[in-house]
């Protein structure tokens, strides 16, 4: 269960204070596929980065299971990010110097999973997301956008996280590939019983999720 209470994030921009998220509260049960929609600048990505402990809130709490993410120390946050959260980004954000297989194995290395085990799991995940064997040893620069996003999804699932956060995962893909990636996320959430929260502009995609949160000027309006 993901439980967000009175989450507020303020930024200083010169002399003015920008309220990126304003007193947001919601819950997402385990295994649910939710989406966050809203206009540009409505606070979607900020909310996602707060949920993923990439940034700290000004106030409020984020409970993942029994743990309050906002009260974690640095070393706990590193572990939380590595083991409990999986990220999928619009620009894939793969490490360019590593192969697809190494990219997927990297979070498992940080989680201190033995080498043989992480290689096996990385291969399984890449097969699961539909990457061919000969593509696994390619570096991101030699993969298409769709293939890179598949690798990113496999990496996000590497440590069997409780929560997968996807920020515009189809934003850089053509509609056919985007649909394929969305379907992949959907099926994986079912199979792995992972909670997935997707930030998207695409209302069609949002309509296919279990639950839709709409943000406007940092406030949750739906």
């Amino acid at each position: 269960m993901l439980e967000v209470k009175n989450l507020t994030k303020k930024f200083k921009s010169g002399d003015t204070t920008v309220v990126a998220t304003n007193d947001i509260s919601f819950t997402v049960p385990d295994g649910q596929f939710a989406s966050i929609v809203g206009r540009s600048g409505s606070g979607k990505s900020t909310l996602l980065s707060l949920l993923g402990a990439l940034d700290s809130p000004t106030s409020g709490s984020i409970m993942v299971g029994a743990k309050d993410v906002t009260k974690m120390h640095d070393h706990e946050l590193i572990s939380y990010r590595g083991k409990s959260i999986g990220y999928v980004f619009q620009n894939y954000n793969l490490v360019p110097s590593l192969t697809a297989l190494e990219n997927v194995a990297l979070p498992m290395e940080f989680a201190k999973i033995p080498k043989a085990e992480r290689i096996t799991r990385a291969k399984e995940l890449l097969e699961e997301v539909g990457l061919q064997t000969d593509q696994m040893d390619r570096k991101p620069g030699r993969l298409s956008g769709g293939q890179q996003q598949r690798v990113a999804i496999a990496r996000a699932l590497a440590n069997k996280p409780q929560l997968v956060l996807a920020d515009e995962p189809t934003g850089n893909l053509d509609s056919a590939t985007g649909k394929m990636i969305f379907d992949l996320l959907h099926s994986l959430s079912r199979k792995e019983k992972t909670t997935i929260i997707v930030v998207t502009h695409d209302l069609d995609i949002a309509g296919k999720t279990d639950r839709v949160f709409k943000l406007d000027d940092g406030k949750l309006v739906q």
């Binding site: 940034d55 590193i78 954000n93 989680a111």
Partner: protein, 477 residues
């Protein structure tokens, strides 16, 4: 893939940049090594010079200037007081004079520190084996004249012949001579016996028992010696009383060397001699001579030390700027790695390995430069330093012909100075014979410098890494 192999692999992500950095870093580390080699070689040489100093004290007339006609001589009676000073075990006294060859045209040379203030009018039947060469300095027995002659040398020109009177005829101008034939002379007897060099004997067709004239007297060759020192080859050695008598410089002494019983007493004995002779003499111990001798080496050492520090600093700055550039370039990647569970320490470690890889590669290039350049650069530094020093000085120990250029009777003037390595102070001689080598300790130092450069260079990068927030990746989008 572990962080080490990832760090090494990251060092080669951009081939052109890696090559450039390695070459520049190699030059920096190479320069560091060359300077380290020079510094060590010079340190060893200084230690060698200092360890080889004798327990002697050199005494010269106050304000002695080679070639000057205004030098005041010391006297035997003054020096007799030195013999009574505690710990002084011996005193070598020397009188030096020069004579023109009979019938030759010789430049007017001032008496070499002699007591007389006038030019000696006496001549000798001997001809100096040392010749002047206006064209090249390749011959070992020739002076090279820098500059030029207004009208060229006269055909009957010859250099003056040096006469050294000494009570210790085993040494001339501080250099040992080796008797080749005949017997040595009694340094304390006023007998007209002489030792001449094999070159002098050959030049003048003399052998043991032959006679020659000097100071309107007939002298007998009792021994022929060999010497590795060029100036000594043009020197005739007489006993001190004989030369004092022949040159009408009774009781005069040009220089003296007192021997002290041990190095421990050298300083006290030197001070006692100074007190005894007062302002009449310049007194310098071998230790002081060694200090002044190694002064140019000390300056080389200083230059090498500063260059070493500068080169290491330059290398560190190169790595520092490179790593800062790399961190800025990979800021987003660092954010991603942090977002998927990478710790600061782990990421810093990778960058440190990357930095170390570049530094080690640079060290390999630098070692090659150091091995190739160590000896020649050290020699060049030492040569430049000692040459400038010896050109500037012509002390009593020089034993050379520090000549005053004077008009040459219508045949032209010396337009330049006369000089060769022969003018070199005997104490300085051999300083440029320096051996620089790279041993294992230097190789380890080189790698140590590389590691130091890598650590210093990546320190700022590490600080920057720790400040990269994982949310950077969100904002970058």
């Amino acid at each position: 893939m572990n962080p080490v192999s990832r760090g090494i692999r990251n060092a080669f992500r951009n081939g052109v940049r890696t090559t450039s950095i390695v070459v520049i870093l190699g030059l920096s580390i190479g320069l560091s090594l060359v300077m380290l080699v020079a510094q060590r070689a010079v340190e060893n040489k200084i230690a060698s010079v200092k360890s080889s100093i004798g327990n002697t004290v050199t005494i010269a007339p106050a304000g002695f200037s080679a070639g000057s006609e205004a030098n005041n001589a010391l006297t035997t009676s003054e020096l007799d007081k030195v013999k009574t000073i505690a710990h002084v075990t011996g005193l070598t006294e020397t009188l030096t004079d020069r004579l023109s060859t009979t019938g030759s045209t010789t430049a007017s040379f001032g008496r070499f520190g002699g007591g007389s203030s006038s030019t000696n009018e006496s001549t000798t039947s001997l001809t100096s084996p040392i010749t002047l060469n206006t064209g090249s300095n390749g011959s070992s027995n020739r002076f090279f004249i820098s500059g030029g002659f207004g009208g060229g040398l006269p055909t009957n020109f010859s250099l003056p012949v040096s006469f050294v009177g000494t009570n210790t005829p085993t040494q001339v101008n501080g250099e040992s001579i080796t008797l080749k034939s005949g017997k040595t002379i009694n340094g304390n007897a006023a007998e007209n016996d002489a030792l001449i060099s094999s070159q002098m004997a050959s030049k003048n067709n003399l052998s043991v028992g032959s006679t020659f004239t000097a100071y309107n007297a007939t002298l007998t060759v009792t021994g022929i010696f060999t010497s590795s020192v060029q100036s000594t080859q043009g020197t005739v050695v007489l006993s001190l009383p004989a030369l004092q008598s022949l040159s009408s410089q009774s009781g005069d002494v040009t220089s003296a060397v007192a021997t002290v019983d041990s190095l421990d007493n050298l300083s006290n004995a030197t001070n006692a001699i100074k007190s005894s002779l007062g302002s009449n003499a310049d007194v310098e111990s071998a230790e002081q001579q060694a200090d002044s001798t190694v002064a140019p080496l000390n300056s080389v050492k200083t230059v090498a030390t500063y260059s070493l520090v500068g080169a290491i600093a330059a290398g560190a700055v190169i790595i520092l700027l490179t790593m800062v550039m790399v961190v800025r370039e990979r800021k987003k990647e660092i954010g991603v790695v942090k977002a998927i569970g990478g710790s600061n320490l782990r990421i810093m470690g990778e960058f440190m390995i990357e930095s170390l890889t570049l530094a080690v590669l640079g060290a390999i290039v630098g070692l090659i430069i150091g091995v190739v350049g160590g000896q020649p650069v050290t020699k060049m530094l030492v040569n430049n330093s000692t040459t400038s020093t010896t050109t500037a000085q012509a002390g009593p120990g020089g034993g050379g012909f520090a000549m005053r250029a004077t008009p040459m009777g219508g045949n032209g003037n010396f337009a330049g100075r006369v000089g060769t390595g022969i003018r070199r102070n005997s104490a300085v001689k051999g300083l440029d014979n320096i051996h620089a080598q790279i041993g294992w300790d230097l190789l380890l130092d080189g790698f140590g410098a590389a590691v130091l450069i890598a650590v210093i260079g990546s320190a700022l990068a590490a600080g920057m890494i720790s400040k990269v927030r994982p949310s950077t990746i969100m904002r970058a989008e």
